[in-house]
Symmetry: C3
Subunit: 348 residues, 3 copies
C-alpha cells in the first residue's frame, strides 16, 4: 500500500507538518523504520529518539517539534497507529464458507456467511452467526452460541451452552466453560459439585491464548462488553468482570469475585473469591488481593495496600537490614544509658 502523508493525515484526522506529498508504504517502529516508513511516538520518553529515526514521517502528539522531520500531529498517536495498521494490514483469514471438512453435528445452525475451517467441530444445536471465523481444531459444544463476526482461533474450546457475543476474539488454546473447581469436603472426600451454569462473554471481548474461563456452578460466569484479557489468565466460576476492564497475563481470579467497570489488573495478580472490586480500580502487578476495593482506588502489594502506602512499605522493606542494625545499636545504647542512670541514681 502506498499513501501520501496528506492522505494519511486526512484518514486519521491529523495535521501534517512538513512535506505532505511524502509517500509512505509501510509502518515500522522508531528504531527499525527506514525511508518510506511512517513511525510513531506513543510515549514522551521516546521523544529523544525522534531525531535519530530514519522514518520518512512520524505520528506525534500535539506540540511536538522536530526540525527537518515530517510529522502528522494527532491527539493520540498510539490510537492513530492502530487505525493506520488496520488500513495497511487488513485482517485476512484466507478462506470463506463452511468447509466440507469441518464436522458440523446435526441440528447445528451455521450461518452460510460464516467461515468454518476444516477440522473444526460444531456441536448439536450450536448457533454460529454471520461473519464468524472458526479455525481448525476449534470445539464448539452443544447449544453454544457464537455471535456475529467473532473469531475463534485454532484449538479454542467452548463447552456446551456457553454464549459468546459479537466481534469477540478468542485466541488459540482458550478454554471457555470447563467445570469450576467445586468440591464438598475439599482435601477429604472431594465430592464433586456438578457445575451446571454457563459462561457468558459479551460483545467486543478479546481473550488471550490459553486463558481459562470456568463455567458457573449455578447461573453464569460473566465477562462483560469490551473486556480485554491477556494470556494464561484464570477466571473461576461465577466471576463477573465489568465492561472495559483490562486484565494482564497470568492473573488469577477466584470464584464469585466481582470486578466493576474499567478495572485494570497487572500481571500475575491473584484475588481470593467472594470479594467486590469497584469501578476504575487499578491493581499493580503481582499483588495478592484478599478483600473488597472501593471504586477509584489504586492498590498494590501482598497483602494489598493503597498504592502510595505500598510504595512506602517497599521502600522500608529494602532497608530492613539497616533498620535491624540501627535497632540493635539503639538497644545497646539505651542499656548503657540505663546503667549509667542507675549509677547516677545510686550515687544520688
Amino acid at each position: 500500500m502506498k499513501m501520501t502523508l496528506a492522505e494519511i493525515a486526512s484518514f486519521l484526522g491529523g495535521t501534517v507538518i512538513g512535506a505532505d506529498d511524502t509517500i509512505i508504504n509501510n509502518i515500522r517502529s522508531i528504531e527499525e523504520a527506514n525511508e518510506g516508513d511512517i513511525t510513531f511516538i506513543a510515549n514522551k520518553k521516546y521523544l529523544k529518539k525522534l531525531n535519530l529515526t530514519k522514518a520518512s514521517a512520524i505520528l506525534a502528539p500535539p506540540q511536538t517539534a522536530a526540525e527537518g522531520k515530517n510529522l502528522i500531529i494527532v491527539a493520540d498517536p498510539y490510537a492513530a497507529l492502530g487505525k493506520l495498521l488496520t488500513l495497511f494490514y487488513p485482517l485476512e483469514h484466507g478462506r470463506s464458507g463452511v468447509s466440507p471438512d469441518a464436522y458440523v453435528e446435526e441440528g447445528a445452525i451455521v450461518s452460510p456467511e460464516a467461515t468454518i475451517f476444516p477440522r473444526a467441530f460444531i456441536g448439536k444445536r450450536a448457533k454460529i452467526g454471520k461473519g464468524v471465523v472458526i479455525y481448525p481444531g476449534v470445539f464448539v459444544g452443544n447449544n453454544a452460541f457464537i455471535g456475529d463476526d467473532s473469531i475463534l482461533y485454532a484449538n479454542v474450546t467452548v463447552y456446551h451452552s456457553c454464549i459468546i457475543g459479537k466481534r469477540v476474539i478468542l485466541h488459540s488454546g482458550v478454554v471457555v466453560g470447563a467445570d469450576g473447581f467445586g468440591f464438598a469436603s475439599p482435601g477429604k472426600d472431594n465430592t464433586k459439585i456438578p457445575q451446571v451454569g454457563f459462561v457468558q462473554i459479551d460483545d467486543d471481548v478479546e481473550i488471550g491464548a490459553n486463558t481459562t474461563i470456568d463455567r458457573a456452578a449455578l447461573g453464569r460466569t460473566w465477562i462483560q462488553r469490551n473486556v480485554k484479557i491477556d494470556n494464561l489468565v484464570q477466571i473461576a466460576h461465577n466471576v463477573v468482570i465489568g465492561e472495559d476492564s483490562a486484565i494482564a497475563a497470568q492473573v488469577g481470579i477466584s470464584g464469585s469475585t466481582k470486578l466493576g467497570k474499567s478495572v485494570m489488573v497487572g500481571g500475575q495478580t491473584g484475588m481470593v473469591g467472594h470479594i467486590n472490586i469497584g469501578d476504575n480500580v487499578m491493581i499493580a502487578a503481582a499483588s495478592s488481593i484478599h478483600k473488597n476495593i472501593k471504586s477509584g482506588q489504586i492498590v498494590g502489594g501482598s497483602p494489598q495496600l493503597p498504592h502510595k502506602q505500598w510504595l512506602k512499605v517497599l521502600a522500608c522493606w529494602v532497608k530492613l537490614p539497616e533498620m535491624r542494625a540501627t535497632l540493635d545499636e539503639l538497644k545497646k545504647k539505651v542499656e548503657k544509658l540505663q546503667e549509667q542512670k542507675n549509677k547516677l541514681s545510686n550515687k544520688g
Copy 2:
C-alpha cells in the same frame, strides 16, 4: 424435572421443615432463586440472606430456623446440593459409540462401550476402557491407557505410555506427559536429558483446563487417587501428589517434590523441587515453599512460615513505615540523651 420436598428430602436423607408437598423444578443460588426453585446455605455467613430469598425451599444445616420458609435440614448442605444437581442435571455427552470420523490407529484397543467423538486421535496399542468419553481434538499417544468411565474433554493431549485411571476427568487443554524440563549445563549447553518415564494418574482424579503434568525423567510422575487439580497448574517431572489432595489454580510444583495425602494448596503457590510435604498440610495462596513441611502444618508466606507467625509478620510489614519513623525518632532521642549524659558527666 419436578419433585416434592418430601421426595427430595428422602433422596438426600434430610428432614423437611415446612410444606413437604411443595413442588421443586430447579436449583438456583440464593440471590437468583424464585418460586419453584430450591437453594442452599453452604456457609453460615449467608444465613442473613435466608429471609430475603424467593426460593420455595432451602437446603440448610441442622438448627437453622427461618420463619415461613421451607427447609430441608441436611448434615452438609453443600454436599447435598452436589447430590441434587447430579439428579437434576445428569451429565450428557450427546453421543455414544466410536465415531467413524475418529482416527484410531492400528493396534489400538478401544472398548465398543466407549464414546469416541469425531476428530479424536487414538495411537497405536493405546487402550480405551468402557464408558470412556473422548471428545474432539483429543490426542491419546501410543501405548497410553485410559481407564473405564474417564472423560477427556476437547483438545486434551495424553502423550505416549501414560496411564490414566478410572473415572478420571481431564478438562480441555490438559497436557499429560510432555517432557520434563531437564537439561545438563543449564544456561550454557542446555543438553537435553531425554525424559523416558511416564505419568500415572490414579482413579477419581479431576484436572482443570490447560494444566500441564510432565512425564518423569525416569520412573513416573504420580497423581494419586481422588486428587483434584484446578486450571493452569504446573506439575513437573517425578512429582508425587498424595491421595485426596486439592491444588488450586496456577500453582507450580517443581521436579521430584512429594506431597502427602489430603494436602491443600492455595492458588499461585510455588514449590521448589526435591522437597517433602507431609499429610494434611495446608498452604496459603501465593506462598513460596522452599523446604520440607511436616504433616498437619498450616503454612504461608514467601518464604514460608507457620501460618500464625506469617500473619504476625504481615501485620508488621504493613506497619513498616511507622516502625521506621519510630526508629528514627528514637535514634534522635537517644543521641540527645547521650549528649546530655555526657554534659552531666563532664559537669560531674
Copy 3:
C-alpha cells in the same frame, strides 16, 4: 538393549572402576535401580545413597569411591546420562510420511521427508522442512515456516507468518504468534492495535506445554538459539530472549523486554515491559523484576534486589514481630529515661 560396562564407558568416554564385563540392560534412578540397571550420581548430596543402591553400575564424577560397586567415571554424569538415555531410548514417533488424513492447504510446501500425522493442518504457502514431525491437532498458519527436524507435538498452534528454526521442539498446547496485548486507552476504549509483526524461534529451542509466545506489534518477538522454556510461560510481544537462556515454568515477561545470553529465570517470576536484562543474569524464583539488570548479576525478590541483599532482607522480614516488640520496648525505656532526665534537670 544390552551393553557391557566397557562398551558404555567407551560410548561415553568414561573409565570403568570394577567389572567391565557387567551387562547393563536398563537405566533407572538410584532408588529404583536393580540388577542389570545402571544409575547415576548427578549431585554430590546423593553420594550417601551410593552404598544402598542395587544398581549394577553407577555413572559417577571423578574421585568417587564406592567399595564393591561398579562405577563409570565421567566428567559430567548428568550429561552422560542424557547421552546414554538417547542410546537406550531413541525417540520414536511411529509414523513417517505425510498422512492423507492431514489437511494440507493448496500452496503449502511440505517436504516428502517430513512426517505429518492425520488431523494436522498446514496453511497456505507454509513450508515444512525435511525430518519435521507434526502431530495431530497441530495448526500451522499461512506463510509459516518450520525448519528441518523440528517436532510439533499434538495440538500446537503456530499462527501465520511465524518462523520456527531447525531441531525446535514445541510441546503440546504451545501457542506461537497469537496477538500481543496492545490496546490504546486501556481500561476505557480498549482500542485494538493490530499486531502485525511475527515470532521468530531460532534453532535448537525447546518450549514447554501450554506456553504462549505472542507475535510482535511491529517487527518480531525473538527466541534465540538453544533457549529452553518450561511450561505455562508467557512471552509478550516484541520480547527478545538471548541464546542459551533457560526460563522456568509460569514465568511472565512483559512486552519489549530484552534478555541477554545465558540468562536463567526461576519459576513464577514476572518482569515488567521495556527493560533490559544483561548476559549471564540469574533471577530467583517468584521475583518481580521492574528495572534493568546488568550482566552477571544474581537477583531475587519482589521488588528485585541483589541476591545477597535479598537474603538479608528476608532474614529480617521473618524477624519483624520481634523487631517490633523490641522497638516498642525501647520506646518505653527511652521515654522513662527522658522522664528521669527531666526530673534530674529540674532538680539540677
